[in-house]
């Protein structure tokens, strides 16, 4: 049904890569019990989404959207501007998550979710 068009695939390689990176991040987030690695996975996943979003606005050979030249095609600035906000949000989420993990490390002496669960079960 779907005939493989390699040129089209190459043109849309950004999206394919974004999905692959997303899955990598998602996989790390779900399978690793180390909380730091979980947070790294979360970041990789978000980066993939940002790549996807920025790729939407990218025009092949487009210039930066500053209106001083004529007759040039511009890259759509909106996705980049939005993703800048997205990155800010992601930075703050990461910083907060990391500071919580530091606290957890002080309490439990480990950053592994399974070990923390084990310690808790023994306490109860």
């Amino acid at each position: 049904m779907i005939d493989l068009d390699l040129v089209k695939l190459w043109d849309n390689a950004f999206y394919g890569m974004a999905i692959i990176i997303f899955l990598v991040g998602f996989w790390i987030m779900l399978t690793h019990s180390n909380l730091i690695k979980k947070i790294i996975g979360m970041n990789i996943m978000e980066t993939a989404i940002f790549l996807f979003f920025v790729a939407i606005g990218y025009v092949q050979g487009g210039a930066a959207p500053i209106l001083d030249q004529q007759g040039v095609s511009y890259v759509n600035p909106l996705p980049s501007a939005l993703i800048l906000t997205g990155i800010v949000v992601s930075v703050s989420v990461t910083a907060f998550a990391l500071s919580l993990v530091v606290k957890l490390y002080q309490y439990y002496g480990t950053v592994d979710a399974n070990e923390i669960a084990y310690i808790r079960r023994n306490e109860e």
């Binding site: 930066a64 500053i66 001083d68 800048l84 990155i87 800010v88 703050s92 910083a95 990391l98 500071s99 530091v102 606290k103 490390y105 002080q106």
Partner: protein, 146 residues
């Protein structure tokens, strides 16, 4: 990391990083960049300072309450600029319609409120970044000393 080379280089390079950060903040409306990018660059200079000279001497240069005040003041400043337009009879965050001078496109003092807003964002991001960093460093140091 109390290395002589790092200290000398840091002392030499920090002012340049700060000026560059300020440049990105102030030229946010005429070239790529803006409050967030410039603020992070400026914060990175202080992070370098912490790396080279330790968190304690950084605390002396930029006490916590100053960083905190700049952070909150940046946000309040942003909203205050937005509220100016309410009193001019237009909607929140209006720019030209609220009577901000537009200037000549491409010059530094142009684009009315955007210039001021970018400045506010830059200050906020700068102090937020440095606060985040020093907080994480602090936890580590406390732990190191027991």
């Amino acid at each position: 990391m109390r290395d002589l080379i790092v200290r000398v280089i840091a002392r030499f390079i920090i002012p340049f990083i700060q000026v560059y950060g300020l440049y990105i903040v102030l030229y946010g409306h005429v070239s790529p960049g803006g409050g967030f990018a410039g603020g992070t660059v400026m914060a990175s200079s202080l992070i370098l300072y912490v790396m080279a000279f330790g968190a304690r001497s950084e605390k002396r240069r930029l006490p916590e309450w100053v960083a905190r005040s700049i952070e909150s003041a940046g946000a309040v400043f942003f909203v205050a600029i937005g509220l100016v337009s309410l009193f001019q009879g237009t909607t929140f965050l209006a720019n030209q319609a609220a009577g901000f001078p537009m200037g000549i496109p491409g010059r530094v003092f142009s684009a009315g409120a955007i210039f001021l807003l970018t400045f506010g964002i830059g200050m906020k991001v700068f102090s937020t970044m440095i606060t985040l960093f020093t907080h994480l460093i602090e936890e580590e140091e406390k732990e190191g000393t027991g």
